[in-house]
Amino acid sequence: MIYLELFLTFFKIGAFTFGGGYAMLPLIQEAVLEKGWADAESLIDFVAVSESTPGPFAVNLATYVGSDTAGIPGALCATLGVVLPSFIVILIVAGFYERFRSSFAVRGVMSGLKPAVVGLIGAAALSVFVTVFLPDGLSVSLLSSPVLYISAALFAVSVLLSQKKAHPVMIILISALIGVGCGYIFNL
């Protein structure tokens, strides 16, 4: 039953993501690719759309995967799943948040989770890197593909813009425009 599966998967993702947003990416990658709900390239496209539309990134991404997999009911199940753990935990914690926040155990666990999130986002970045730059694995034909050079140039431009504190939506829009331009010029 796809709806239940979407709900449970995103419930798990919601319950195990700390730090929100991109920290969720490795979990979503793992679940979505394993279940075959989307391929690696589409997932990156979902990330781009989720980043460049208003609203919480994680909710956007869940809605997108749900909608693409099983239409409106799918989107509903995935979104409900990703939001519910937050909702329940905050309701429980809100009553004694003072004690929760200053608790030794919570601070101890967080001191392990913060660096873990860095490692996990690193793993997600590696996997996206492979999808963008080495879609067919390492091969000789790779070096003759203009897509590789365009992607490398755009990655450099995006990093530069990002260092100049450009807004993510701006970075995505600029890259999209350059992508369209290069696409027609090189007739990809």
């Binding site: 798990k12 208003p54 997108y64 905050i90 309701l91 101890g108 793993a123 999808t131 290069c182």
Partner: protein, 186 residues
């Protein structure tokens, strides 16, 4: 009771606005919550904002959803939390639903295909940016670097289930904090 009931539609509309006008969610939303919930409505105090960020960070789930639920609960109890969270999520849901249907129709168009070739490279840059910002927030101790490297290698190269890695790293953090506390006590 009546006082609380009256706040429900207000909470809903306020977070609907916040959901519709923040890009990227999470931290981008905090200044907006501050403006609406502290300055305009007086639902919470200024100090509470820092508290909310701290709580939202140390509980699982999207930071924006955590913050909305928390403000809603503090303002009007369970139904307050419900109204605020529902309001926050609805714009996302509607917009993404629309875009996902549109993109499915237009994905094969050449210009759209080209645009996404460009966008994918940008997404990688944005992930690297998130990586750097999370790195800066992480504690600067040897054990933190070990956990970073271990979680990266376990997930990227050994394909270990991410949830196990998260549980293991949380446990590591707790154990090492205990060891450190004992050492300081001596």
């Amino acid at each position: 009771m009546k006082e609380k009931l009256r706040k429900l539609p207000e909470l809903f509309v306020t977070f609907l606005k916040i959901g519709a006008f923040t890009f990227g969610g999470g931290y981008a939303m905090i200044p907006l919550i501050q403006k609406e919930a502290v300055e305009k409505k007086g639902w919470i105090k200024d100090d509470d904002i820092l508290e909310i960020v701290a709580i939202a960070e140390s509980t699982p789930g999207p930071i924006a959803v955590n913050a909305a639920t928390f403000v809603g609960f503090r303002t009007a109890g369970f139904w307050g939390a419900f109204s605020a969270t529902l309001g926050l999520v609805i714009p996302s849901f509607a917009i993404i639903l629309l875009i996902s249907f549109l993109l499915r129709e237009f994905r094969e168009i050449r210009a759209v295909r080209y645009a996404f070739i460009g966008i994918r490279a940008a997404v990688l840059a944005l992930i690297v940016r998130a990586l750097i910002s999370m790195y800066k927030q992480s504690p600067k101790k040897i054990i933190s670097y070990v956990i970073m490297a271990a979680s990266l290698i376990l997930v990227a190269f050994f394909r270990i289930n991410v949830i196990f890695v998260i549980l293991g790293c949380g446990l590591c953090g707790l154990v090492f904090s205990l060891i450190e506390r004992r050492r300081q006590a001596k």
